[in-house]
């Protein structure tokens, strides 16, 4: 394992508005950005308030350029 997230990616209780339409956060075709946390303190803080965490979700258009960019990073 290279890392882990305090965020929920699956929630049958659908408490956070990110899960309003589905208990699964991700849909096929979604792009996911991973951001490093400063340490355990921040991790635990996010975990504690996970039901009100403001997920940053943007609608986007699929493009081959995006794949090329992602592959070259």
């Amino acid at each position: 394992m290279v890392g882990r997230t305090p965020l929920l990616i699956f929630d049958i209780n659908q408490k956070n508005s990110a899960f309003r339409d589905s208990p699964a956060l991700f849909k096929p075709g979604d792009r996911i950005r991973l951001i490093p946390l400063s340490g355990e303190k921040e991790y635990l803080q996010i975990e504690q308030h996970v039901d009100s965490y403001p997920y940053e979700i943007e609608e986007g258009m699929y493009s081959e350029n995006w794949i090329k960019e992602a592959m070259s990073v």
Partner: protein
Amino acid sequence: MFEVIHPGIMTTVQDLGRPGYSSVGIPLSGAADTFSLKVGNLLVGNHPGGAGLEILLYGLQLAALKKTIISVTGADLGPTLNKEKIPMWRTIEIEKGDVISFPSVKTSSLKGCRAYLTVAGGIDVPVILGSKSTCLPGNFGGFKGRALKKGDRIEVGNSLLPFSELRNRRLSEIKRPHFDDQWEVRVILGPHDHLFTNESIEMFFSQAWRVSYKASRFGVRYIGPKFNFKPRPSHQVKRDPKGDPSNIPSQGVPLGAIEIAGGEEPIAIGVDGPSSTGYAMIATIISADVWKIGQSKPDDLTSFRRVEIDEAYQILIDSEAWIKTEDILTQAQ
């Protein structure tokens, strides 16, 4: 309200399930025999999709903590009320302190294996993703996401009708389903019949299949001869040169699909089954007959009969129109 004295082999809270979440891996769940649950609900004045208890075989013992009205439908597992036999498919008045039991029986003498206990007002558990049913593979829904345990206290909702209107209600005998230890299950062919030899497809329909001990809400496995496959399609050989001929690119599984993993022991997918499979599905049980795999128990015999899809729709329409209000009789026998 009830208290569980003994939970039995497996007792779960079930309604008509949680459709619409296959794409995120959540099974349908709900009653394995939806007809029996629906009738049980109608008898006690609930909506047909109210939550009841699904009882497997024997061992359940419940103490009533309040006066209420129940009914027991589905397979006749020999339930008793204070040691007196309970008649099936009719309402029973329960007083505080009464004990409902499903005593130990010789399972080989039973016809069917699941009974449904419904109660006026329904079993009161939280609604999760639109359903009160227990999702055993996901440990959520129903009563705390699990089968009942000793000491559990089961809450009951408010009855929709006054108890005086629910007394002596029963389903007329000609409308009751036939439970047996030999089943004829109707299927439509496919989606992967083209991968099997014609002889194996003929064999599938002519054989009496014995239900294996591997039978659960997840699926039912059958014992019988092996299947043969046509030469593997070139695209499959290219994709996976050493693959088994029963392998397919993984895809969605409909409820009632019959997959032939490794060419032997067909598996009929049940209400708690997987949402995808990598094995060829030779046939799919029609919706109106899926309850039969929910009532099949080890050593039962099953034959599969082919129908066309138009006929399958008509059978479903007829089965849903089978119970009308006038079939719930109110006069005592």
